[in-house]
Symmetry: C2
Subunit: 237 residues, 2 copies
C-alpha cells in the first residue's frame, strides 16, 4: 500500500521505518526537501539530521507535503509539529481531500514567557494551544473538511506506537477518536498491523481534547519513571 | 486516627464511609451544616441529600469546614468543588496550618457559554479553570503556604479510589504529587490502607496540572466503555 508520512521528526521516523518494514511504499513529506536534506545538525529533540537517517533507509522517498500526500491514495500519517500543522496541511488540502489523516501532533507552544514554569530535563514544559475548549485535531478537521481526521498514537511513546509488544508484551491500550467511522477503521487496521490488540474507540473527534491534554500526564509519568524509560497506559476494566 | 473530610458530594461520601470502616474518627466539613442537613433534593450529580446518607452512617459528625479541619491533627481530605475550593480553604487557613491536605478536586467551570460544546450524557463537558499553565492544587498551595498539599485520587473513579480491588483485583495505578515528602508519605499510607499496591509519585505539585487535565480523557474513556462502567488506569512498564 502507498502511505504518506508528513514530518521528519522522531515519531515520523518510527512510522516510516515500521511501515516500510511491513512492506508499504512510504512517501515522506517535508516542507522543503532540499532544506531538510541540507541539515547537518540534530533537531530540537536531539534526533540526528534526517539525511543521515534516510541513508540507512533505502527505498524511502522524500517529497514536499503536497507531493507525498498526492502519492498516498487513502492513508496519510500527520507528524507535522503542532504549531505548523494547520497551515501546512491547509496548503495540501486538495491532495488530502477524501483521505484518512491519522494525526498524532501535540499542540505544544514553545514560548519563553510561560507562566509558572514546569521544570523538565530539557528546560520547562511548553503550554498547549489549543487546549480544553478545542483541540489541534478539531482545528485540522475544520480547516480540511474533505479530509477524515483521526486522532491516534498521541498517548503512547513514539517507539511504542509502532512496536507495542516492546512494553509488557503489548498489554496496554491505544485510543482513537474521529468523526468518520471508515477512517477510524483504517487506522485501527494499521494499529493491528503494528501489533496493537487493545484499541479503544473514544468516539467523536472532540475526544482528541482529552488525548492531547494527556500530554502533561504522560510527561509527568515519564519523569517519574526516569526519562527514557519505556511505558504504556492501559485501561483496566 | 482523627481525619477530616471537607465536602459532602459523592467522592467525599466514599472517603467518609471507607475511613469510618477502617476505624478512623471522621469529621465532615461543609459550608453550613444546618443548610446541608436541611436539603431534601439530590445534588447536581444525582446523589441523595446528605442528611439521608448520614442517617445510614452513625458516628460520622458534620461540622463547618474550619471545625472539621481543627479536629484532624494531621490529615484532611479536600473534596470541596473546584470553583469554591480556594476561597473555602482560605477561610480555614489557620485550622489547616501544618497539616496534610489530600486534594482531589477537579477545577471544572460549569458555564453555559462553553465554546465547541462536547456532548456528554448530562449535557456538555465543562471546561477546566485553571488549566495547563496552573492547577487548582497549586492555587490551593499558594493560598495556604502553611499547609502541605498533595494531589491524589483525581485520576480514578471515586468508588475505585477507596476500593481499588473492585477493578481487576486492584492491578492499576494511583498517582500522587506534592512538594512535601512527609505529606506524600502520609497520603501513600492512606492509599495502602485503601488497598492500593501500585502508587506512582509524580514528583512536585506542578504535576497536578497533568492529573487535573486528565479529567477529559477520563470522561472520554468512561463514555466509550459505557457511562458508569468501573475502570482504572494502569501504568504498564
Amino acid at each position: 500500500m502507498e502511505i504518506a508520512v508528513l514530518g521528519t521528526g522522531g515519531g515520523a521516523r518510527a512510522h516510516i521505518a515500521r511501515l516500510a518494514g511491513l512492506g508499504h511504499d512510504v512517501h515522506v513529506g517535508t516542507r522543503d526537501p532540499e532544506a531538510t536534506l541540507a541539515r547537518t545538525e540534530p533537531d530540537m529533540m536531539g534526533n540526528p539530521p534526517f539525511g543521515t537517517w534516510l541513508a540507512d533507509h533505502p527505498g524511502v522517498e522524500l517529497h514536499t507535503f503536497a507531493e507525498a500526500a498526492a502519492r498516498a491514495p487513502e492513508l496519510v500519517v500527520n507528524g507535522i509539529d503542532g504549531r505548523n500543522a494547520v497551515a501546512a496541511l491547509s496548503a495540501a488540502e486538495k491532495q488530502l481531500a477524501g483521505k484518512t489523516l491519522a494525526d498524532y501532533a501535540v499542540p505544544y507552544l514553545y514560548h519563553p514567557d510561560v507562566e509558572h514554569p514546569w521544570p523538565t530535563p530539557w528546560g520547562t514544559m511548553p503550554r498547549l494551544d489549543p487546549c480544553d475548549t478545542d483541540s489541534l485535531a478539531e482545528r485540522i478537521q475544520r480547516a480540511l473538511p474533505r479530509t477524515k481526521v483521526v486522532k491516534a498514537f498521541v498517548t503512547q511513546e513514539q517507539d511504542t506506537v509502532v512496536d507495542p509488544q516492546a512494553v509488557n508484551g503489548g498489554d496496554h491500550t491505544m485510543f482513537v477518536a474521529g468523526d468518520h467511522a471508515d477512517a477510524k477503521a483504517a487506522v485501527i487496521d494499521l494499529l493491528r498491523a503494528y501489533g496493537w490488540t487493545d484499541i479503544l474507540d473514544l468516539g467523536p473527534l472532540v475526544s482528541a481534547r482529552g488525548m492531547e491534554m494527556y500530554a502533561h500526564m504522560h510527561s509527568a509519568i515519564g519523569f517519574a519513571l526516569g526519562f527514557g524509560t519505556p511505558f504504556g497506559i492501559k485501561v483496566v476494566r
